[in-house]
Symmetry: C2
Subunit: 568 residues, 2 copies
C-alpha cells in the first residue's frame, strides 16, 4: 500500500482534554476517530489492527473447538424479559421498536440469543459440550464514555457461550478457556492476570477478568504476595484477624459522649482501639429499603458485596434527615442496638453485619441518641443482624483469604472476562434443555466468554508506546514493514515492487511512504504506524551501499537485492 | 472439523409455507435460522460461507485501491436530518434514543457517516480520489420479509463510498467498479447483468444494479436483443413509435358518449384506435397534491418515473369521490382539457403528460362530464401540461431507446448496486469539500457501492442446487472436502489426520463426518454441505483398494496415500 493513496491523515492537535496516551496516539495516528461520544470510526489503519486481533482470537478459539457464528444485532426484547435482564441491565440497555411495534434490545452481551437458538434444536447429551462464539457490535448505554477506546458505548466484541451437560464438564471448559485466553493475549504481546471479579448483570456464581496491569486502568485488584490469589476489589476476600473475641462479655452500658461524628472522634473520646468500635453505614436501595451495614471499625464496607447479600441493584447513602426522621436515630450515633424498635412503622430496615464483628467483644459505638454512646455491645446478645456475612473491603497489606501472604494492590485494564453461568439462563428460559442418557430433559450448564476488540487495541498501545509513537508487537502491527523514501522514490518503488513480488504473504504487509512531504513528517508518521521493520531509502543509504533497515534497536545497511531474504 | 463436534443439525421439516428453494436448503442444512421475522442467525456453516464471500469481495476491493474501515452502527440522527433522509427514507429507517436523549439512526446505508468522517479532515485535491468501504450490519424496517435471505430486515452489507474531485474522475471510478463487481460475482460463480435502475432514497442521478437471472427474483428488467441496453422496469426507456402526429389538426368537438369507463369501451364506442385515445390516471401524493398523468392509450404509466418528475414520495389512486367532488370531473371521463378551471380552489392539480402524446394528432377521450367525450384533442392547443416528459412503462417487444433491437423481459435477484451520487450529499452536508489546486473549496463528487452478503449467499443457492442439495462453487463452499466414513472410522480418521497434516491450508477445509448415524443421513447431509470433493471410506472402497473420491461427475477409487496429491 502506498501512503499517497492511503487514507492516512495524522493529527498533530488532539484535544487538550485527552490525557490517555492510547487515545492520543490512536487519534493522532488516524487509527480511530470519534463519531458521537464513545462511538468510534475505525479508519483503515485501525481496522487492520482490529482484524489482526480478531484473527488471533479466531485461531485460538477454533483450535479449542469453539465455532464461529453470527447472531442478529437486534435481540427480541421478550427474550430479555424471560431472564429479567430488562430490569437487571437497567439503564445500560438500549431498546428500539420497529414499525410494527415489535421491540428489540441492542445487547451488551447475547446470552438469551444463543440460548434461544440452541433450544430450538433437539440436543442430546451426545452433542455436548459445544461452544459457539461470534464477533459482533455490542452496545452499552454508559453514562460517561472516557479514554478513547477504553470505555465506549459501542464496540466490537468476541462473545462466546458454552453449553455443557453438567458442572464437571463445564469446569473443564472453563479451565480450558483460561488457557485459551491467556494464549490469545500472549500472542498479541499482553501478559494478563486472571482475577476473580463481580459478574454485574451477567449473572452466575463466579467469574474472572483478564487484566493487563496499567496505572490508567479502571480495575483495582489485589494479589497475594505469591500470586496464587487474585481478586478484583469488588470481591476480594481477606483473613480477618482475631482480636479480643474471647474476652468475657461485660454488661451493656450507656454513657454520655459529647463528641464529633467521626470514627476517630469515638476513639479519642473513649480511648479505646478503632477495631473495637462498630462502624455503622446507612444506605437506601432502589426499593427504598434502608440497609444498615455494620462492620469492625478498622474495616470499610464493600458496597458490591453488600449489594449481593441484599439483592439491591443500587445503593445510596441515607440523608441526615432520613436518619433522624424515618429512623429516629442520629447521624454519627447510629447503632444496631434497639434501632428496629424506634423506626417509622412504614419503613423497612435490614441490618447487615460483617462477620468481622465476631472477632471482637465488648464493642462500643452510638446509641441512636445524640451525645450518648454504648459500651460493651456484643453481637447476638445486644442485637441480631438480619444478614451476617462478608461485606468488608480488602486493602493492601491484609492477609490473603487463602493464607498465601499479604495482599498487594494492583491496577489494570480488563481486556477479557469469563463467566460461570451455571443454570442462570437455562433455568429461566423455557426449553433450554438437552436429553440426557436417562431420557430425561435437563437444563444446560453454561458459561460465557468475552473479549473487547477495541479495548484490547487501546491496551496494546498503553503497553507498547514511547509517548510519541506506537511499537506494535509483530502479531498485531497494521503493517509488517514500512519503506520510507527520502527523495529516492525511484529506488524505493523498485524495492517496494520487489518485496510485493517475491513474498506472497507480504504483498499486503508493506506500507510504502511515497508522499511528497518532509523527512520529519514521514518519520513522525512512521512512529505512529509502528511497523516493526522500517526501511529507509535515502541518498545516504544508497551511498553506503543499499538501504537502511531498522528492526527494533538493530540498524544496518543492506544491499537492496538482499532485503527480501533478510526480513523473511 | 469433525461433524460429531460441529454444531450441524439438519432439519428435515422446514415450514410448508416456504417456497423458495434457497430458504429451504439453507434452513434445512443449518446454515441459517430465523430469530425474529427477517432477522437470521448465521450458524457455523452459514458463517463460513459468508466469510468466504466477504474474503472475495475484500480481495477485489483492495486490489482496486479501496480501503476497508468500520463506522459505528448507530448514526447520529442529526446527520440524516442534514440530508433530509429522515424524511426520504421514511418508514424503512429505524431510530433509537440513548439515556441522555441523543437520537440515532440504524442505517440501511451510511453515506452521511462517511461524509461526516471525511469532512473532519483537511482534504487536498492531491489526496483524491479515495474509496472507503466497510462490512457492517444494515437495517431496513421492511413491511414484509420474505424468501429466507432474499428480503430481510437486518443483514451484513459491504458498502463503499468514493470521493472524487470531479465528474470525469468519478466516471473512471464508476466504470472501474462495474468491472470489480463483475469480477467479484464471477469469482463466486455468478454471472451478473448490469442494469440501469432507480436510486430509491439513496439520491443521485443514475445507478446500476447487478442482477443474477432467476425466476424468483424481485427485479424485473429489460434488455435489448443485442444485450447493449439493460434497464430495470422502473426506469427502462423505449422508442415511442410515431403515429399520426403530422395529420392536420381538426377542431375540438364534444360528442355524446354513453359508454363504459374502460379504455376498450372508448375504442369500441368511437371505432378509433387505442393509441389515439388519451389515457388519464389521477393520483394523490403525500402532500395531497392531485397529479393527473396522461399518456397515449396503448401505453401504461410508470409510477416510478412519475414520482421522479413530480418529486412525489408516495402515490395513490384518487378515489371516485375525490374525482367528482374536489376535481368536479367524472371517473372514466377525466380530461386534461379545461379541468384546471373547474377544480376546488383549495386543491392543487399537476398535469403530467407523457411525451408520447406528441406522436399523435386529433386524440379523443373524456370531457370531465359523464357520457360526453371530446374528439380532436391536441396537446399545446387544447391543454397545456405542467410537466411533459417520459412517464411510460416499458414492455417486452418495444424498441430499445437506443435503437438496439426489441426489449426482452427478464427477471432476477439484485445482488449488488452502484450509485452515482454526484454532489447530492456533499452539497447538503456543510464542509464536505476539498481544497482544489486553485486554493478554492469544492464539494466532493461521490459514488456509493453496495453488496448484500446474505442475499448473495441465497442467490448462490438458487443457482447452484439440485432441489435436495447445494452444489457450492469451490470459491464459496463451506468446506473444500468432506470425508464420509461408512463404519470405517479408524481408516477415515487416518485419512483426515493425514490431509490436515500434509496440507497447511486444508487444515480448516476438511469436514469429516464421523457421526454414528446411517449412511443415508450422512449422504443427505453431505448434499446440504455441498463440499466440492467428497471422499467415501467404506468396506467396499477399501476392498477396491482405497477410498472413493467424488469430484463433480467424476468418481474414482484412489489409494489412501495418494489422496492428498490428487485433491491439491
Amino acid at each position: 500500500m502506498k501512503a499517497s493513496k492511503y487514507f492516512l491523515r495524522t493529527f498533530k492537535n488532539v484535544s487538550d482534554d485527552e490525557k490517555i496516551i492510547s487515545a492520543i496516539l490512536l487519534k493522532r495516528g488516524a487509527y480511530i476517530r470519534e463519531s458521537a461520544a464513545g462511538r468510534f470510526y475505525f479508519l483503515p489503519l485501525g481496522q487492520r489492527v482490529q482484524q489482526k486481533i480478531m484473527a488471533i482470537i479466531k485461531e485460538e478459539m477454533d483450535s479449542a473447538d469453539a465455532q464461529e457464528m453470527l447472531a442478529p444485532v437486534l435481540h427480541p426484547l421478550e427474550l430479555w424479559k424471560e431472564t429479567n435482564r430488562t430490569n437487571t441491565a437497567g439503564f445500560e440497555l438500549m431498546k428500539i421498536k420497529d414499525r410494527r411495534g415489535a421491540e428489540f434490545a441492542l445487547g451488551g452481551t447475547a446470552e438469551e440469543m444463543f440460548v434461544d437458538l440452541v433450544r430450538q434444536y433437539d440436543v442430546s447429551y451426545r452433542d455436548l459440550p459445544f461452544h459457539l462464539y461470534q464477533f459482533s457490535p455490542k452496545f452499552r448505554d454508559e453514562m460517561r464514555a472516557r479514554g478513547g477506546l477504553l470505555r465506549v458505548r459501542e464496540f466490537l466484541m468476541k462473545d462466546g457461550y458454552s453449553f455443557d451437560k453438567d458442572e464437571e464438564s463445564f469446569k473443564a471448559e472453563y479451565e480450558k478457556m483460561k488457557k485459551v485466553y491467556t494464549n490469545i493475549f500472549k500472542k498479541m504481546g499482553l501478559e494478563t492476570a486472571i482475577v476473580e471479579a463481580d459478574n454485574g448483570y451477567i449473572g452466575g456464581e463466579y467469574c474472572h477478568e483478564f487484566i493487563v496491569n496499567s496505572e490508567i486502568g479502571e480495575s483495582k485488584y489485589f494479589t497475594s504476595e505469591d500470586g496464587s490469589y487474585s481478586a478484583h476489589e469488588d470481591v476480594a476476600k481477606f483473613k480477618k484477624d482475631t482480636k479480643n473475641e474471647d474476652d468475657e462479655q461485660k454488661s451493656l452500658t450507656e454513657v454520655e459522649a459529647v463528641r464529633g461524628t467521626t470514627m476517630q472522634d469515638g476513639v479519642d473520646f473513649h480511648k479505646l482501639p478503632l477495631w473495637q468500635q462498630i462502624k455503622d453505614v446507612m444506605f437506601v436501595d432502589e426499593k427504598n429499603r434502608f440497609i444498615l451495614a455494620i462492620i469492625r471499625g478498622d474495616f470499610d464496607v464493600n458496597e458490591m458485596k453488600l449489594k449481593h447479600l441484599t439483592s439491591a441493584a443500587t445503593l445510596r447513602a441515607a440523608t441526615d434527615e432520613e436518619i433522624r426522621e424515618v429512623l429516629q436515630s442520629e447521624p454519627g450515633f447510629i447503632s444496631p442496638v434497639g434501632i428496629k424498635e424506634k423506626i417509622d412503622s412504614k419503613a423497612e430496615l435490614i441490618i447487615v453485619a460483617d462477620d468481622s464483628l465476631r472477632t471482637i467483644s465488648n464493642a462500643y459505638g452510638g446509641s441512636n441518641k445524640k451525645n450518648l454512646d454504648l459500651l460493651n455491645i456484643n453481637i447476638g446478645r445486644d442485637y441480631q443482624p438480619d444478614i451476617e456475612g462478608d461485606i468488608a473491603l480488602a486493602e493492601a497489606g491484609f492477609e490473603s483469604a487463602i493464607g498465601t501472604g499479604k495482599l498487594v494492590e494492583k491496577r489494570g485494564i480488563e481486556v477479557g472476562n469469563i463467566f460461570q453461568l451455571g443454570y442462570h439462563y437455562s433455568s429461566k428460559m423455557k426449553g433450554a434443555t438437552y436429553t440426557d442418557a436417562d431420557g430425561k430433559e435437563k437444563p444446560f450448564y453454561m458459561g460465557c466468554y468475552g473479549i473487547g476488540i477495541g479495548r484490547t487495541m487501546a491496551t496494546l498501545v498503553e503497553v507498547y508506546n514511547n509517548q510519541k509513537g506506537i511499537q506494535w508487537p509483530k502479531s498485531v502491527a497494521p503493517f509488517a514493514v514500512e519503506i520510507i523514501s527520502l527523495n529516492k522514490n525511484e529506488e524505493a518503488e523498485k524495492l517496494y515492487q520487489s518485496l510485493r513480488a517475491e513474498r506472497g504473504n507480504l504483498i499486503d504487509e508493506v506500507l510504502y511512504d511515497d508522499r511528497e512531504t518532509s523527512a520529519g513528517e514521514k518519520f513522525a508518521d512512521a512512529d505512529l504506524v509502528g511497523a516493526p521493520i522500517r526501511i529507509i531509502v535515502s541518498e545516504k543509504s544508497l551511498v553506503a551501499g543499499g538501504v537502511e533497515i531498522i528492526d527494533g534497536p538493530k540498524v544496518e545497511v543492506v544491499e537492496m537485492e538482499k532485503v527480501a531474504d533478510l526480513i523473511k
